[in-house]
């Protein structure tokens, strides 16, 4: 792993104004993310996990502190939102293609890439379906495909697998692991699942109750590639226990 971080977050704080003054959501959050690192963020509901991702994506400006990127400018971002967030008027294929359109990629290349992605995500046969005809899990897979299609440097995933059934979810873990390793991406992923985070991450950050601070920063030194049965190893059990205690 390279030593200069791709992303440095320093004493980051976020505050929203509401009826009774201000709502402090994040407070004094500091951490680095290195190139090709897979970071998971765990924390109770309302601790500010989504807010953290939105800050990194530049969708919000921090109230305090700063976020700096290695090459000064924001890297290319692929984002999966907590809800699938598809465009109802676009077919599956057109939804997945959106980032390529925004990048001005030629139609032929775009279509080719999209077809590949549809295959990878197991969405064949639904290319021309509209979002209203998709199950929740399928919609989420379309959203993941859309986040990957333009080959972003930084993936920001907000509980991307929450609406998938257990089988698909584990399949998606393997796919994401594979893509992450093959394409050398940096990933920040919010999740509620300890198993998921230990299966995928190099590092797990645990946030406290609101206002979210970093309560624990755990290195996940499990060997890769991680197979299903890794969860029955004693080291996995130890890490899982540690995280569970931190989450309270």
């Amino acid at each position: 792993m390279s030593h200069t971080p791709i992303l440095s977050i320093r004493s980051l704080g976020a505050m929203f104004t509401n009826e009774n003054g201000g709502l402090r959501v994040l407070e004094d959050v500091t951490f680095d993310v290195h190139p090709r690192e897979f970071v998971c963020v765990l924390g109770p509901s309302g601790s500010g996990k989504t807010t953290l991702l939105r800050l990194v994506a530049g969708l919000l400006t921090p109230t305090t502190g700063q976020i700096t990127f290695a090459r000064k400018q924001q890297p290319r971002i692929g984002m999966v939102f907590q809800q699938a967030n598809l465009m109802a008027w676009r077919t599956v294929e057109q939804n997945i293609m959106l980032p390529l359109e925004v990048d001005g990629v030629g139609e032929r290349t775009a279509l080719e890439k999209t077809r590949e992605m549809i295959e990878l995500m197991g969405l064949q046969g639904f290319e021309d379906s509209y979002p209203r005809d998709l199950s929740g899990g399928m919609a989420q897979r379309v959203a993941i495909a859309r986040a990957l299609i333009h080959d972003p440097d930084l993936l920001l995933l907000d509980e991307p697998f929450a609406s998938l059934d257990a089988m698909t979810r584990e399949h998606m873990w393997n796919e994401l692991s594979r893509i992450w390793q093959a394409k050398q991406k940096t990933v920040i992923m919010v999740t509620h699942s300890i198993n998921e985070s230990l299966f995928l991450a190099d590092r797990v950050l645990v946030l406290t109750q609101r206002p979210g601070k970093i309560k624990m920063d755990v290195e996940v030194d499990l060997p890769r590639p991680r197979k299903d049965d890794i969860r029955y190893t004693p080291h996995f059990g130890k890490l899982a226990r540690k995280l569970r205690q931190a989450i309270e």
Partner: protein, 248 residues
């Protein structure tokens, strides 16, 4: 197709039959309620001497120009008002006041200012179309899901991309709903203008027919107007079918 048309044809037939019997046996004189046959004969005569086509063309041009101008203006202003609360606050008193004045009351004024030519009709038509399209544009643009803005911003999309790929398609259903109302109102607008002062157009035919007790001519003009309104309405439905097939 035939099965779908059957009820319409049946009701039309029943209507004509009822009308015929009424004029035949009630003793109402022809200049008060003309028989369907005399209306038909009057129609044929107006077609063959070319007057109907000429007047219909004038009215149709007024309607189309007025509709186009009204919709264009409403969509642009509506978009700006939707995007800017302060602009809306500044302008909404005037907009609402303008709606409190019946169009009939200002039509003579416009005829004085703009002359008896088609311009005054186009303007009246545009004014009457303006408001429903404006309101629907504001509602439609305000209802664009914020999450889609987040998506586009995470992709560093330009303003133009956001406009054409999100705002336009997302608000289109509501805007077209406004256009449906506007399309039917546009016919009324042109006629109001022509009734006030005109040398040409279906409104002029109405006035002349009324003046000369040529009641069958009045009926012909009214039926043509109904036909125009239905055609415009049908055209909007076609637009909806073409652009909103992702709904339902």
């Amino acid at each position: 197709m035939i099965r779908r048309l059957t009820p319409i044809l049946l009701s039309a037939f029943a209507f004509l039959l009822g009308w015929h019997l009424l004029t035949r046996y009630s003793g109402i004189p022809n200049f008060i309620l003309p028989s369907p046959l005399s209306v038909w004969m009057r129609f044929l005569r107006a077609v063959s001497d070319g007057s109907l086509l000429r007047h219909t063309r004038v009215t149709l041009i007024e309607i189309l120009l007025g509709l186009f101008a009204g919709v264009l203006f409403a969509v642009v202003v509506g978009y700006l008002l939707a995007k800017s609360r302060s602009l809306e606050k500044a302008l909404s008193p005037y907009l609402i006041a303008s709606q409190a004045i019946p169009i009939i009351a200002i039509a003579p004024l416009l005829a004085i200012w703009l002359g008896p030519g088609i311009l005054s009709k186009v303007v009246i038509c545009a004014l009457i179309v303006f408001f429903p399209v404006l309101v629907n544009t504001i509602v439609g643009v305000r209802a664009v899901p914020t999450a889609l803005y987040d998506l586009m911003n995470s992709l560093h999309a330009t303003r133009a991309h956001i406009l054409w790929k999100v705002e336009v398609p997302a608000s289109l259903p509501v805007v077209l709903g406004g256009l449906r109302i506007g399309a039917t109102l546009s016919v009324i607008g042109a006629i109001v203008g022509e009734l006030v002062d005109a040398r040409e157009g279906l409104g002029y035919l109405l006035r002349v027919g009324d003046f000369q007790y040529d009641t069958p001519m009045v009926f012909v003009a009214v039926f043509i107007l109904i036909g125009l309104a239905l055609t415009l309405y049908g055209f909007v439905l076609l637009l909806e079918k073409r652009f909103l097939k992702w709904q339902k």
